[in-house]
Symmetry: D2
Subunit: 168 residues, 4 copies
Amino acid sequence: MTKTDNGWLKSGVVGGAGSSGGIMETSPWQATRFRVRYAETDQMGVVYHSHYFVWFEVGRAELCRQRGLAYRDMEREGGIYIVVAEAHCRYKAPARYDDEIEVRTCLRAVRKRVLVFGYEVYRTSDGTLLAEGETTHVIAGPDGRPRALPEKYQRLFERGLDPTAISK
Amino acid sequence: MTKTDNGWLKSGVVGGAGSSGGIMETSPWQATRFRVRYAETDQMGVVYHSHYFVWFEVGRAELCRQRGLAYRDMEREGGIYIVVAEAHCRYKAPARYDDEIEVRTCLRAVRKRVLVFGYEVYRTSDGTLLAEGETTHVIAGPDGRPRALPEKYQRLFERGLDPTAISK
Amino acid sequence: MTKTDNGWLKSGVVGGAGSSGGIMETSPWQATRFRVRYAETDQMGVVYHSHYFVWFEVGRAELCRQRGLAYRDMEREGGIYIVVAEAHCRYKAPARYDDEIEVRTCLRAVRKRVLVFGYEVYRTSDGTLLAEGETTHVIAGPDGRPRALPEKYQRLFERGLDPTAISK
Amino acid sequence: MTKTDNGWLKSGVVGGAGSSGGIMETSPWQATRFRVRYAETDQMGVVYHSHYFVWFEVGRAELCRQRGLAYRDMEREGGIYIVVAEAHCRYKAPARYDDEIEVRTCLRAVRKRVLVFGYEVYRTSDGTLLAEGETTHVIAGPDGRPRALPEKYQRLFERGLDPTAISK
């Protein structure tokens, strides 16, 4: 993706370009957009860094929804909780108030007890890459104990993964 | 309280001055202190206004604790949830990053199904009143339905109220 | 608006019904939609109350934008800051994770140094009114001192107000 | 440090044990304590993961303060901004509402344009390690451009570093 390319789909699956990123980025990227809230800025005049992890969650929820998985229902009906085990973000350029943001999310790994998501955060007005990140999640039951991801969910998640990337 | 008076107790009951405030402010004020976090500032260089409601909650929890009521245990053991029904804040002066803040909390009304808390927020370095607020809460069970506050909690809350202020 | 009416415009001006609310609610309501983020929930399983004030801000920004006023530019170019002086919210029903929310915003008063905004928060899936609120703002310069709202902004804000509601 | 050891200093420099951690953890750990706020929990009943990065910031500010560096003054007087370039957290066990938290912070590297901080988050009641993290920061001026850390700040930061760890 070039910096000037900002003709992305609105909350749709991003075709082509994004999925060519190499070994790790094996699933189609899911894009979702929103504007920076004033509450998210800090006195440096930019978005405070912890909010990117909230944006990652927005992207993650949207990716699940696009695969027919409402995370809300996974918790309520399935008793499946996706717990964050690790979170990482590299900040490239500041996001500012009222910027329209696009979070692009992909699934990097689907295992019985672990999911790995990757993220890219762009400013849509000029296509600047603002941040990149990754979160690793373990599957837990309502008691907080690790459990295996039920097969039906696993299959739905794997659908978007490149077959060569699936590991168990 | 004068602006230069900042000899408050740290997380203790505030004697005298604070409780002379009139008809509504009938219980001793409970004071708690902390510093403004960078994450709480916005690009205007001051604390974003919604965070004062979080600070009110910190004050409320401390007031409960001082009366031997861990709100955590009320939820866990008592199945009692104190749900916010109304929240109000008047902002007088801005709080800034790293300011030491004192939240003074009082109970303004204790009824079977309703609690009213009052708040004052000060900057301790110069005693400036930054904000005043009030929150009204209804008592609910784990199902979210209104229920009466059990008598033992009601008695503990009322203890700090001036007898003339108790209404049922 | 009835509880079952959820055929609102997406981020558009809400026609008719909303503006019939009486003396205070004199401007057309501006509607904007988004989903509840997981980060906004608390351990009661509902949205933590302080986030409604952030949602009000989202509604406020959208109302400004619809009138050709990017609040971002007011700050940057005009040196005009809209500072919150008072905030109030009444909570009617809980918002939950992943609910689609509609914030409807109106201007209740435009004065030389003061703006008053009103808000209604709905769950779009069933049209339930979740909360109502109001915020009062004073106009300040970059130094934080009160100043008059420049005429061009005042005119833009007043445009949406019923003429009988304008006071100076 | 063993899991049952919770006799830490309150907001003081942690002696001995903490600084024996190996090659990377070369500076004395700085400890600071606070309670989990209700607003920081999510519907899973635990602290939402992004808040740990805010806690890291609280620890970082306290470490600076202990070295005679008010970060607030670095910005205001020195025109020095410490911008987050990378943030990482590994979550070990959930923090819950009202838990008393201790954040232990150390400086892992001090370079002309880069600072690296390390963190450990403990629950004080039982000494459980809840999370570990690291943040990398670049020094910037008021214009957001990278600049060198002035020598006086560099010396103050380096003071706590083991001499063998200082790199330029």
